[in-house]
Structures are given as C-alpha cells and as structure tokens.
C-alpha cells in the first residue's frame, strides 16, 4: 500500500493547565520516512496521538491524505494510519500472539492478511502460539508492531518502536520498516534511539517545549555536531566513526560505515 501525506496546521493541545503543543505546523509527504525526536515531555507522543484521533487538538487542523481527522473516529483512522504505542501492553489482548496479530484484519473481514509473513519478518513464529503476556516485554513490543504492520496502513506512526529491544530485534524492525518505505508507506517514528533514526529516517523533526525546534534532512542534522550538542545528543556510532576518521560519503547507517571501513588495516588489541 502506498503512502498518504500528513498535514498538521496550527495545532495546539493542553492537558488541563499544562500546554503540551504550542502551535505545530508540520507537513510530511507521502512516502517520507521521518523521525520525531526531542527531550522527555516535549510533546512528541501527544502530537502522534492527534494523528489517529486518540486526542483532539484544542486549535488547528490535522489531515491524513484527503481525510480531516476532526471528522473521524479512532477506529476509522486505523484503516489508514497504523499506530504502535510506546507501551505495547496497551494494545495486546488476544489469547495468543498469532490471534493478536490477526485481530485487526479479522475485524475488517480481510481473509488474505499477511499474518504469517509479518510474524516471520519480526521473528515471532516461534512464539506465535504463546499468550502475549507469557513472552518477554521486548517481544510483546514486536507483537504490537506486527499487529499494526499486518493491517498494511498507508501511514505508520510508531512511538519508540525500538525502546528495550536488543540489537537483533532492532535490526528486524529496521528491515521491516525499510520494506514498507520501499513500498511507499509514510513513516513517522518517535525515538530517542539516534542509531535507529540514522537507519530509518530521511528527515528528522526535533520538538522542544511543545514546538518544532528543528526540521532537517537526517544526514545533515546527524553530521552537525553543534546542533546535536545543543540538543544534548551524541552522534550515532556510524557518524562518530565517520567524523573521527573523515570517511567519505558521510556514513550514517551501520552498513555505510562498514563499507567505508572495509579494507582498513587493523591493529591487534594492546593489552
């Protein structure tokens, strides 16, 4: 399924007295891969929830493709926008992993949903018969993501999709998202994991205090030491290696750093 564009215009939102979004304008093109980063409490999660009608803005407008989110319910939005919560336990309820992943397509009467493919893609086949609460928390996170991917939405909104995952699990998530990206799906991922951001995003939007503080091409931001330092961030490993060794091509992804380092001469470890 190819992507839809997402437009957020003049959006504000407050939790009681606490203003979480103070005027957000953001346009994401169909098929773009965007990371949303920023300190805790910046408003990232709040913004993503407005995209699926889980919260309603106090001012401004959100559209996904030709849909105005103001006129849609969350279950209607779920046909177009797949949302993976930061905490997977908020969206798991079936008695087995496989049942949970297949829940959405079942509700919509889709007999041909790629449940087995998605289970395999995320390495979940060995646990497909287990109860979701009998698998470790990081695996539950993958189960929730699988339940979103299997719906084949045109927009993916993922809140901290790699938090708590080990390296192998993270690599599976990256590979799954790259496949969706190649198919033109729009992705917006909230993340603190700059290594993951480097692997999946073309563009990085930085939020701070309920506002957008930066909106730049991922490679440009990741190689801007000053901008990262101002945000309290360290470059991901591939970028640190690229900067320190002056590697050509400004690698941001691990595979780019590996390609640039191949052929290097290596010293034995000094004991």
């Amino acid at each position: 399924m190819s992507g839809c564009d997402v437009r957020v215009v003049g959006v504000r939102y407050a939790y009681g007295e606490q203003e979480a979004l103070r005027g957000i304008d953001l346009a994401i093109g169909a098929g773009e891969q965007v990371a949303l980063i920023g300190p805790n409490g910046a408003g990232k999660t709040t913004l993503t929830r407005l995209l699926v009608a889980l919260r309603r803005p106090s001012a401004g407008r959100v559209t996904v493709g030709d849909w105005d989110v103001a006129g849609k319910r969350p279950d209607e939005m779920a046909r177009r926008v797949g949302y993976a919560f930061q905490h997977a336990d908020q969206q798991l309820f079936a008695r087995s992993v496989e049942d949970d992943v297949g829940f959405g397509p079942r509700c919509l009467g889709r007999a041909t949903a790629p449940v087995q493919d998605v289970l395999g893609e995320l390495g979940l086949r060995p646990v497909s018969g287990l109860h979701p609460y009998d698998v470790p928390a990081p695996v539950r996170k993958l189960v929730a993501l699988a339940g979103v991917l299997v719906m084949e939405p045109c927009v993916l909104v993922l809140d901290e999709p790699t938090a708590g995952l080990d390296r192998a699990q993270r690599e599976r998530v990256v590979a799954a998202l790259r496949r969706r990206a190649a198919g033109g799906v729009t992705v917006l991922a909230v993340s603190h994991d700059l290594g993951f951001v480097a692997e999946m995003a073309d563009r990085v939007v930085v939020m701070r205090d309920g506002r957008i503080a930066e909106d730049r091409a991922a490679r440009e931001l990741l190689y801007d030491r000053g901008a990262l330092a101002a945000l309290g961030l360290r470059p991901p490993p591939a970028v640190e290696i690229g900067l320190a060794l002056g590697l050509t091509g400004q690698p941001v992804r691990a595979e780019e750093a590996i390609a640039a380092l191949k052929g290097s001469r290596w010293r034995e470890r000094q004991l």
């Binding site: 930061q86 695996v139 708590g164 290696i241 691990a254 380092l261 290596w266 034995e268």
Partner: protein
Amino acid sequence: MTALVTLEGVTFTYPGADRPALVDVSLELAAGDVLVVTGESGAGASTLLLVATGLAPRVVGGRLTGARRIEARRCGVVFARPWTQLTGLCPTVRDEIAFGPASQGLPREAVLAAAERAMERLHIAHLAGREPAQLSGGELQRVVVAAVLAVEPEVLGLDDPAAELDPEAADALYDLLPAIAAAGTAIVVATPDLERAARVATRAVALEAGRIVARGAPADVLGGTEVAGIARAAGCPPPFPLDVPALLRRVSR
C-alpha cells in the same frame, strides 16, 4: 568485601512454566559492584534481578533451588515499565518519592530530606508538584528511580532503566551509577543498551536461555555493541572494540 548477595547453583522456574528461567546461576554481589547482565530477550536477565533482590519467588511465586543468601537490609528494583510501580496513592511526585522513606517510619524531616535529595540526583525538582499520572514516560521513569533511591537500598536492581529516557537523561542516569555504587551499594543492571552499560560496568555476565555463558570484565563480555558489530563486519580481528574510541585505536588508515 562482604557479599551482599550470594547465589550458588540457583535455578528458578516461574509458576506454571515448563522450563526454568534461570539455570545453575552462581554469582556474588558486593558493595561497589556495577554488574551488567546482558542477553537476548528472554535469556533471563530480568529474572536474575528479581532473584538477586529477593522478589522471586517471594513476590512473583515460582520455585527456587540452590543456595541464595541476601545479606543486604534493603533491596530496591526499578522495573522497565515505570507506571507499574507507582503507588497510585500520591497526588504529587514529591509524595510519591517520599512514600518509601515514610513507610520506613522515619521522622517527617528525614522523609522530606530523602525525597528532596533523590529528586536533585535525578534532576526532577521541577516536577515535584506535578501529578505522577500526567507525566511523560521518561519523566515517570526518573520519578521511579528517585523513589527507589530515596530508600537507600544496599542492593539496587535496574531493569533497562533508561528505556523511556531521552539520550541526555539516559546518560545522566548511567553517570550516577558509579557514585551510588561507591557509596556502598551493589548495583545490578539488566539492559540491551550495551554502549551505556559498558561505560559504567565493573563486571558483566552474559546469559543464554537462563545460563551464564560468559562473565568477567565488561570489555570481554559485552561484545554485542553496535560498534563491535561494525568492527566485526569491517574485518577487525577479535576481540572487537566496544565503543568508538576503542575502534579508533584499532584502525590505522
């Protein structure tokens, strides 16, 4: 150094499970240790925290065999999902953090002082008057860490304590650990965040299917960092460097 926790050949099985989550685990924890426990999801790292701090089987049930001695007077655990350990009784962050010391029957001044000290350590004094339920995931995680530190545990178990934190707060949390350990606490951290763990660990163990498969210096055990993966794939001979400075010392261009 007296061991605060000793495990000898400990095997632990959760209630209803058909195989043990920990198998024949032996280790000691002493004041000053920052022991990092690593392994793939399901390898048993979180379970080791529960066993080492006495929560398993006492609270979670299950069956433990082998010998376990916990000499520590107080153990504290920070779980990976912070909202699971809020009291649900406290209208403000300050009250939430004061709950532990207050439960120990300390005088009011000591309770408040412990809460203030813990909030300062986690840089959350500005959240003191906020309602815990209204906080973001990362803010909440710092509140929970502060609440556990406020009771001054002798053994501190941290289960992926920075999973919800932004990188600055995550670095700040890991940077706190050496000083907490040096003040007389044994710390055990289960985390897939090997880069940060490698910076503060004094020792490390790796688990596979509940068994310890490697133990020793962090540089020898925490081989699964992203930098190590890059170095391995780029042709670096083992042992693989764990972080960028170590990689730079190994490559000559």
